[in-house]
């Protein structure tokens, strides 16, 4: 579906993503993980045409994304970013903004199809009951759901999310990620998301890409990537990895200082 080949890019200053190669298949949930400043969000921004590659390419269905018209791209790729500014508008108005790429230039009013799709997105995300609330007066969890509803209203094939669970409590984290999983399995939506929490990433993603200092450290299934040697090396923290008793996905346990000092002394 989307493929990065030898991608190198960055901002004006010194930081760069270096030589990233990644191929995301149709219907996959791909998690981007890595320490702070490892280039996770930069990678996502390169995939959404905010950042232009210095070298290498990103292609969507075998076409370089920089050769696709922005409007066409917005009908295929939707982004849920942390940088969205809130505005004094109702949830429904906000969700309807997702129809913009489908509108004609002088189309002044949504047609029935636009309304139906917005309604369906709100149903799917459970935001229909708050559709008349103001977007900046709802809770953080509801806001995240509204953001996803807006993205779905674009009718994308690929959904990119930038840390969709930040600042949410566990019930909302799970609610958002369950929703993403459902969208993936029921609508066949391909998902790429940046996640901070390694355990959530391991639990919900089919594959993970671990970035470190702008380079790919490891790509593979959660079992392959969430390995205590790799995690300790990249995060420079002592950890224990055990499987989740229910899902048997690997989970990371941190080891607090006192405990990890003792074995060292004994050695």
């Amino acid at each position: 579906m989307i493929e990065a080949r030898g991608l190198t890019c960055g901002y004006d200053s010194s930081f760069f993503l270096k030589d990233i190669n990644l191929k995301v298949k149709n219907g996959e949930i791909m998690g981007i993980i890595g320490p702070n400043g490892s280039g996770k969000t930069t990678f996502l921004r390169a995939m959404t045409r905010i950042l232009k590659p210095r070298s290498g390419t990103i292609s969507f269905r075998e076409r370089d994304i920089w050769t696709i018209k922005l409007e066409e791209l917005a009908k295929m790729i939707a982004v849920v970013s942390q940088r969205s500014e809130t505005a004094m508008m109702s949830v429904e108005e906000y969700v309807l903004l997702g129809r913009i790429p489908h509108h004609k230039r002088l189309q002044l009013i949504e047609n029935k199809r636009d309304m139906d799709i917005a309604r369906r997105s709100m149903e799917l995300t459970g935001t229909l009951k708050i559709k008349d609330h103001l977007i900046d007066e709802i809770s953080g969890g509801e806001r995240q759901l509204a953001l996803i509803a807006r993205a779905l209203t674009q009718e994308p094939d690929l959904l990119l999310l930038d840390e969709p669970t930040t600042h949410l409590d566990i019930s909302h984290q799970v609610m958002v990620l369950n929703l993403i999983k459902r969208l993936n399995s029921e609508l066949g939506l391909t998902v790429i998301m940046v996640l901070h929490d390694l355990n959530l990433a391991s639990e919900y993603c089919h594959r993970l890409i671990l970035l470190n200092e702008g380079r790919v450290r490891k790509i593979g299934s959660p079992e392959e990537v969430i390995d205590y040697r790799i995690i300790e090396e990249v995060y420079k923290t002592l950890v224990v990895v055990k499987n989740n008793p229910v899902s048997s996905r690997p989970h990371v346990f941190v080891v607090s200082e006192e405990k990890n000092l003792r074995p060292k002394i004994e050695e």
Partner: protein, 339 residues
Amino acid sequence: MNKKLTKWFLWVGLLIAGLVAVSLFSLSVGSAAIPIKKAAGILMGSGSGTEHTILFNIRLPRIILGLAIGGALSLAGVILQGIFRNPLVEPYTLGISGGAALGVSLHILLKLNNLTGLAGYPLAGSIGSLLVIILLYGLSAKKGILKMQGLLLTGVMISFISSSLIMLVMAISRTQDLHGIIFWIMGSLEEPSWTLIKIMLSISVVGLFLSYFYQKDLNALILGDEEALHLGVDVERAKKGLLILACVLTGCSVSLAGIIGFVGLVVPHVTRMFIGKDHRILLITSYLLGGTFLILCDTLARTIIAPMELPVGVITGIFGGSLFVYALTRKRVFVGGGS
């Protein structure tokens, strides 16, 4: 959906009714009072003589110019606030009005109207404001990305510089030109040339029409530049088009009526408070309300201390400024974070 459309039609109808009412009021009051009924009759074609002359040669031109300029300035305000997601932005604060004023002063000083004819004033104003925007772009758009704070600060500085330069122009111009410049800078809707009035009206109506080509982009920009890009908007191109539009609207307005502040700041805010921030309805309603507001202010300006006349900027300043403060303390009307 139909509910929304009905609501929008109601607002537009209401504002048109308001515009007509204020225009009729403005036609009837003045040093020679003409009852509204009679004024309407004369407009329809009956009557002649002095009253006919007063209506058609003095009051009606001002009303039409008021609509054109009030609408143009409000539209420029909506556009600029939409681009910059900042409620304090308007043609004046960005230095666009200042640039236009400087352009027109130079035009008067150099007597270019012998060359360019009547259209020279709006042309000079538009060129002045466009030069300001090009300068702003050059200074703060490094590598194609418009950085907002830099732009705003530079805009305020350009305002200062252009008013200093206008002083300089005044200092070195001859007495008869000086009179022209001062008279024009005071700001007035008195314009003897029907041709210029017609030009201004067409520019502002065409501007309104063109702004609708960008309504999608303006709505997407509410969410920020990056989100607009994610919604398929070519942000840089949309911004350039919108800035040029705002410049031409401002430049023409300033060239005909001087600097009239606060219209572009207050009218969009009031409209947003009542109607919301959807640009599909905001553009037309701001235009109508802006026209109505300026006609009302101008009517007050020429009647309050009749037979003398106040500069209309005094009224819009007092009116607009206090309304602005009131609105800010009462309700959140900001466009966005303005980061």
